[in-house]
């Protein structure tokens, strides 16, 4: 997410919450967290580190104690004046009898007078990315592979764990950013209001796409697909008007599934999905093993955004439906290439965001001090039983050792160590 969206303390806002009443203090979420951000304190899971909203924790919680939260309730009152920008994943939630245009008309029936289609801006974006890649081919030491900024959780992982890869993120607006900007521009002209007063409601498949509203000047909000699903389903039965709101070809509709973004980009590209695979590939990029790839699409959810935690329909059935839409609407581009090249040159696609590294430690230490610190971690680790049981409150023995060195845990918190009492412990 954009750096200016983050809380000033350096900790990004996140949209995952633990219900302390429901949490029974088991270790599953803590172990599932790819960022090692969860600790157990007084038998309750707490998110203490950088949370990227991937929801791996919620997926494994047997108590249902972890959930994603919205940055808005579905506005039930006046919905008329402002824009609604659904993720293309919404199009695939209602089975094959409902085409993308029906979903947009259904939103109008619900009372959102101005639905904006994101599959079309996805095709604009793909054109821009392709031009950008071509430019990069001409420069010395290009930042290949470029890494898609479309999944905000991926951007968070890079900012936090792979800051050296920030230069691989193309400085172009994502389809969502483009559609937001366009919606504001058009509605502000139509209603003669300043663009910042036009509110945009996003309908999203995951908490990572929640607008991070803390320091944002605009009034944009987001709700999960599951929050509008029932009302929208009902509204779609009552559509009376006949108008075209969906303009894209098949490629723009394919975005919800893994590989959908690169499908329309003519470059050497690969698509990776799932949070652990994503991290593994970012490690490989950092080691220079993927320099021969020009574009890397990563999605934190397995199979892509159709696997998002706020979706309703089954991800594999949805995937089939999306593929069917792609075939049905065809693979050719419907955007006007000549005009797009002109506005690209004029900077129309430039991103407003600039992603900055997220620092997780506050204290500045010298290299020598950090080496000492790592030595202490290693010597503590040697004393630990290496059972990775999580009973200490940290996800594994190494992280526990790091927590001890950082003063966030004490050796006596280790439940297993007591069994070793009387034996010699080397520290």
């Amino acid at each position: 997410m954009a750096a200016d969206d983050q809380a000033p303390a350096g900790q990004p806002v996140h949209y995952v919450e633990v219900d302390e009443q429901l949490c029974n203090g088991c270790v599953l979420c803590m172990k599932a967290c790819p960022m090692k951000a969860i600790r157990l304190r007084d038998n309750v899971a707490r998110i203490e580190g950088v949370c990227i909203d991937c929801m791996e924790c919620a997926r494994v919680c047997p108590q249902g104690a972890i959930r994603g939260v919205s940055s808005a309730d579905v506005p039930l009152g006046d919905r008329t004046g402002d824009a609604v920008c659904p993720s293309t994943v919404l199009y695939s939630q209602f089975g094959e009898d409902h085409l993308p245009n029906d979903v947009l008309l259904g939103l109008r029936r619900m009372g959102f007078r101005y639905p904006f289609d994101q599959s079309y801006t996805a095709e604009l974006y793909e054109f821009a990315i392709e031009l950008f890649i071509r430019e990069q081919r001409e420069i010395e030491d290009p930042p290949f592979p470029l890494i898609s900024a479309v999944c905000p959780a991926v951007v968070q992982i890079i900012a936090c764990r792979f800051p050296s890869l920030l230069r691989h993120i193309p400085p172009l607006a994502t389809p969502r950013e483009i559609v937001t900007r366009e919606a504001k521009r058009r509605l502000s002209a139509k209603h003669n209001r300043p663009p910042e007063e036009v509110e945009v409601l996003h309908v999203v498949p995951c908490p990572a796409l929640m607008i991070r509203e803390t320091s944002q000047a605009n009034r944009d909000r987001a709700v999960g697909i599951n929050a509008v699903y029932e009302d929208l389903k009902k509204a779609m039965q009552e559509i009376e008007e006949d108008r075209v709101l969906h303009y894209s070809g098949g490629v723009g509709l394919g975005w919800g599934i893994s590989g959908g973004e690169i499908a329309g980009i003519r470059a050497k590209s690969i698509a990776v999905s799932g949070v652990h695979e994503t991290i593994r590939y970012l490690e490989r990029v950092e080691m220079g093993l993927l320099d021969h790839i020009e574009f890397l699409e990563c999605r934190i959810c397995k199979e892509g955004c159709v696997g998002g935690p706020f979706t309703v329909a089954d991800r594999y059935q949805t995937k089939q439906l999306v593929q069917k839409y792609v075939r049905m609407f065809g693979e050719e581009r419907r955007v006007k290439q000549h005009y797009l090249r002109k506005i690209y040159q004029e900077g129309w696609f430039q991103a407003e965001r600039q992603v900055l590294p997220i620092r997780t430690e506050k204290i500045d230490l010298t290299i020598a001090e950090r080496i000492e610190q790592q030595k202490r971690v290693e010597s503590i680790l040697k004393a630990l039983p290496q059972k990775h049981c999580g009973m200490c409150g940290s996800p594994d023995c190494r992280t526990f050792a790091e927590d001890v060195v950082a003063g966030k845990a004490r050796m006596k918190d280790c439940a297993q160590l007591k069994q070793y009492e009387g034996k010699e412990i080397v520290t």
């Binding site: 490690e283 950092e286 080691m287 010298t366 020598a368 080496i371 790592q374 030595k375 290693e378």
Partner: protein
């Protein structure tokens, strides 16, 4: 001067775990906070050395020594050894098996790549007697 030492074992023909050691090396150096360009050079070398052991080396081990001013990597294996070290250092020269080449390895760039990225490289090997690579990286030397 503070000195951190870590020892890792590398298993021959284990393509599932291949690359894990270099990722771990990379992780340690990132935690310490070295310059990303230096970390990249060290991890490329660690990866190439690790893959050499996996493909040709028999079992082996990697030793990482970290000091504020330098990083040393030593990779030892009990494999067949290198017959002609001069030749092995030539880009494109490879004795990899066809099945490794099918997996995208064995382009003959391993040792040349290490030579390019390390501040210094010493290859100690005899046919039939295993191989020891000693790589040094001086902090702030800007490249190998």
């Amino acid at each position: 001067m503070p000195l951190l030492e870590r020892r890792f074992t590398v298993k021959a023909n284990d393509f599932v775990k291949a690359g894990e050691v270099s990722i771990e090396v990379q992780g340690i150096l990132k935690k310490i906070g070295f310059d990303p360009a230096l970390i990249r050079r060290v991890s490329i070398c660690a990866y190439e050395a690790e893959m050499n052991v996996v493909m040709h080396g028999g079992d082996g081990e990697m030793l990482l020594r970290v000091e504020p001013e330098r990083i040393d990597l030593e990779c030892r294996d009990r494999g067949g050894g290198i017959e002609d070290i001069e030749l092995a250092l030539q880009p494109g020269y490879s004795t990899a098996k066809p099945e490794h080449q099918e997996m995208g390895f064995g382009a003959g760039m391993g040792l040349p790549n290490i030579k390019k990225n390390a501040s210094s490289l010493d290859v100690d090997s005899r046919k039939g007697g295993g191989t020891r690579l000693t790589m040094r990286f001086e902090v702030g030397d800007g490249g190998g």
